[in-house]
Symmetry: C2
Subunit: 248 residues, 2 copies
DNA sequence: CGTATTGTTGAGCGTAGTCAAAGTTAGTGG
DNA sequence: CCACTAACTTTGACTACGCTCAACAATACG
C-alpha cells in the first residue's frame, strides 16, 4: 500500500458526505502517520492507557470491548476498514476500554495532536470527525437497547442485520453474502449471551431458513424476515448523507 | 433567571476543563436561545424528528430512551442541569431516540446552526462540545456493559453509584444524600430489568445496609461496599476532579 | 378526600446459564 | 503433505435468575 493512498478511502467517504474543499482534503492526506500490519487479536488500545495516537483501520476488522470484575467480556462495537477506531480515546485522555483486531489488519497510527490540530484548523474536517464519532455513539445506544430489552433470538438477528448492512455499505458483501468476522463466542460477547446459547440461536435461524452460515461465511437467505425478526431499523446507522448545514 | 446567566454554568464548567479565552466565552454567552419551562414527562426530542434546536438543561433532570417493537422501553442515559441534552441529534439530521424530562425542568433551546457555526468559528468551543459528547459516548459504553454482563444486583448498584457520583459532581448531593429522580419502573428501564425485580433488589440493598431509600430520596450508607458490589469505577465518567462520595 | 401513581408481595414459570464432553475445523510444524 | 494440536462448534442434562401475572398497600396530589 503506497503512502499517498493511505487516507484515500477516508477522504472519499468524507467528501461524499461533507463539503470538504481541496485544502481540507490535502490537509488530511498530509497527516503524519505510521502504517503497520497487525496480527489477529492484537491490542490497538488498552483500557487505562494514555492515548497518543489514533488508529485508522486500513484493512481488516476490529472491535472494542470491556471486562467486568467477574471476568466476563462485553463487546461494545465492531469496526470495518476505513473507520477511525479510537477517535473516542483521542479526545479523552485515558482509554476507558480496549480495542483489539478481529482479523489480521493494516492500520495507520496518526498522532493525536496532529488530528486535533487539523480539526481546529479546518472546521469542515473537524465536523466530519465529530460526525463519525456521533454515529458510533448512536450505535452504542442501539446496543444498549439490544442487550437490555430484546430476547436472545431478536438480539442475534439484530446484530446480524447490523453487520450485513455495514459490510454492505463498505462494499464487503456481495449478493447478501459476506465474511462474518466473529466467532460464536464473540457474537455471544457482543449480545450479552453465552456462546452455548448463541450456538442454539444460530441453529434456529438456519433451521428457519433465514441464514446460512458455515465457517465465518454468512449468507442472508431472507432479508425481510431477518430484519423483521431482529426488530431492525437502519436509521441508527445514519448512512444517508447528513443534511447540509451552512455557517450563519 | 436573567438572560445573561443562562449560559453561566456551562461557561464555568467548560473554562475549568478547557482553555477558553474571553472571546470564546463571550461567543457562548451571546448564543441565540429561547428559554422554556417544561413539565415533567415533556418530550424534548422525538425519535424520527428532524432536529433544529439543541436543548441545554438549566434545571431539573432528563433522560434518553428508545422503544422496541415489543413495546418495552430502554433508558439510555440520564442528564442533569448544565448539560446539553442533544448535541447528539444536532449533528445527525434526524433523532434516533427520544429525550424526555424526568422532572419539571427549565431548558434553553439553541438553534443548531448557531451552535455549529460557533464550533467552526471558535475551535476551542467546538472541542469542548465534542468532548462533552464523547463523555456521553463513554457512558453509553459502560451501560452496554452494565446491561450486557452484570447480574441484577450489580447492575442496580452500579447505576446508583453513577447517579451518586454525577449528582455529587453537579453539586446536587449533600452528605451522600440526594434526590433520586427516577421511579423504580424507570430504574428498571435503565437496567434492562422489570420493576418487580428492581424492587426486590432495592430491598436487598436496604436490608444489607448499603442504602436507605424512601420516596425519591436516596442516601448511600456504605459507599465503599456499594461501589464494590456495583463493580463501579468512575473512570468512564471522565470527571477531571473525580469527586466521589468520600467516607468522611 | 378520592383517585392515580408508585411501591410491595407471593406463587409459578421460562429463558438463558452452567457444566461437561464430544465433534469439527483450521493452523502449524515435522 | 500429513499429523498433530489448538481453537471453535455442537450436544445433552440440569439449574437458576429474573419474568409474569395478579392482587394489595402506600404515597402523592389535585
Amino acid at each position: 500500500m503506497s503512502e499517498e493512498h493511505v487516507f484515500a478511502p477516508l477522504v472519499e467517504r468524507w467528501t461524499q458526505r461533507f463539503q470538504l474543499d481541496d485544502a481540507d482534503c490535502a490537509a488530511i492526506r498530509s497527516l503524519p502517520h505510521s502504517e503497520r500490519l497487525l496480527e489477529r487479536d492484537s491490542y490497538v488500545v488498552r483500557e487505562g492507557e494514555a492515548s497518543n495516537n489514533c488508529c485508522l483501520l486500513l484493512s481488516g476488522f476490529a472491535y472494542r470491548h470491556k471486562l467486568v470484575r467477574a471476568g466476563a467480556r462485553q463487546i461494545l462495537s465492531l469496526h470495518v476498514s476505513g473507520e477511525f477506531v479510537d477517535l473516542q480515546n483521542c479526545l479523552l485522555g485515558t482509554a476507558d476500554h480496549n480495542v483489539q483486531t478481529l482479523s489480521r489488519a493494516t492500520v495507520a497510527f496518526v498522532p493525536q495532536a496532529a488530528l486535533l490540530a487539523l480539526a481546529a484548523a479546518r472546521p469542515a474536517v473537524g465536523r466530519a470527525m465529530w460526525h463519525d464519532t456521533m454515529i458510533d455513539s448512536s450505535i452504542f445506544r442501539e446496543w444498549v437497547v439490544n442487550v437490555g430489552r430484546r430476547d436472545s433470538v431478536t438480539r442475534i438477528a439484530h446484530l446480524l442485520c447490523e453487520i450485513a448492512v455495514r459490510l454492505g455499505a463498505a462494499g464487503l458483501a456481495q449478493d447478501q453474502s459476506f465474511i462474518l468476522p466473529l466467532t460464536q463466542e464473540q457474537l455471544a460477547d457482543a449480545t450479552g449471551l453465552t456462546s452455548v446459547h448463541t450456538n442454539r440461536v444460530l441453529q434456529a435461524l438456519r433451521r428457519d431458513g433465514l441464514i446460512s452460515l458455515s465457517t465465518r461465511s454468512l449468507k442472508v437467505l431472507d432479508w425481510h424476515r431477518l430484519r423483521e425478526l431482529g426488530d431492525f431499523n437502519a436509521r441508527y446507522l445514519h448512512l444517508e448523507t447528513p443534511r447540509e448545514l451552512s455557517p450563519a
